[in-house]
Amino acid sequence: MTTRISRQQLAARIAADIPEGAYVNLGIGAPTLVANHLPDDLEIILHTENGLLGMGPAPAEGQVDPDLINAGKQPVTALPGAAYFHHADSFGMMRGGHLDVCVLGAFQVSQAGDLANWSTGAPGAIPAVGGAMDLAIGAKSVYVMTDLLAKTGESKLVASCSYPLTGVGCVTRVYTDHAVFDVTDAGFAVREAFGDTTVAELEALTGLALVDATVVPERAKRHEGKDA
């Protein structure tokens, strides 16, 4: 049995990789937990695709403002230094490669970095994509936050996705409850295994040949982007 970390520990682990000054979009669901673990003494600027940079935490009791919400339609606040903009400008930021980091959930990630997170493709399911495809291709670094195994026990890291794709070759790194994986030209590389977990155990869980991240460099960023 390999070591697993909790959802909150995983959020903290991701938060630790986000440097000061980064512009970050946290996807709907579990990725929003990352915000709670960003250090108070570092300025990290959160983007929400419905038109706000400089998003702050949830409002205090009684301070809900229904005009001020995040992409998950939950009430939020705006920090000093915030800016509002419309949807075309907001997705231009994303599509134009101006965000440093995006954290997304996943159904599956392939060893080529393909992401499937918007549809199980089940017959009769009502589709809904929202901003998932824009987020997947937009940020300089696309981090996936997920359990390594689905509830049914299958690995979410796969040789190739069986679910409908959200984006092709777009994932930079996958943070799971067992380990952190980089997407490399040689497939998934174990960047960090939690506790006493071994690469061999991870290979058994995923059914994939894994490489050591310390010997294979992180995939090059896909956008030139800003150098600040």
Binding site: P66, H87, P127, A128
Partner: protein, 247 residues
Amino acid sequence: MIDKTVADAASAVDGIEDGATVMIGGFGRAGQPVELIDALIAQGAGDLTIVNNNAGNGDVGLAALLAKRRVRKIICSFPRQHDSWVFDGLFRDGDIELELVPQGNLAERIRAAGAGIGAFFSPTGVGTQLAEGKEARTIDGRDYVLEYPIRADVALISALQADRWGNLVYRETARNFGPIMATAAARTIVQVDEIVPLGTLDPEAVVTPGLFVDRVVAVGARRWLDDGAFVGGVDVEGNPLSEEVTR
């Protein structure tokens, strides 16, 4: 004297025809033109194509319009929500057509319509089901699909304040789709909290110049700003809705 203000929401939506394509602003409840949607329901136009980010929530607003079977087709990014039961039922029964568009492509296609762009190559959706059948091209080593403008006969949007020329300012994330939809429709109809005298709005801070606006109606301050309650909608039976904001 130019005066784009009209007396009430019923006058604002007058003339919307059966078969029209109608853009409706808002993301969730923020920026949703609640009074204009209710007026459209009362006005009676049907066989509509609706462009909105979602496909209605609960039994009010856009969902109420759907429930009355006034909508033939919806173009949106995120129809399925925990409270989208009206759309869900129509869709499963084959009673509504859906064009699902990634949210950024939806926004850019609306913007393209307003800006006179014939089509554009977007990297969003490349290699996915939503790009199937679309023209693809590799430019400078990156893959794109060709996306076409989305135009409308009418846009119904919500802003905070307007003047009689139709200049608009919005409030916080309620801005969302309003500014781009205003540019993409032959007739743009706006509900605002209040009409202010010409010259009151800071010309540096006007988000939508009056050029894009045809009719403006003041509906009063949204009560939610005062007491945190979302009100103003009607349910499927046409009864007023009064509901606490969902956390």
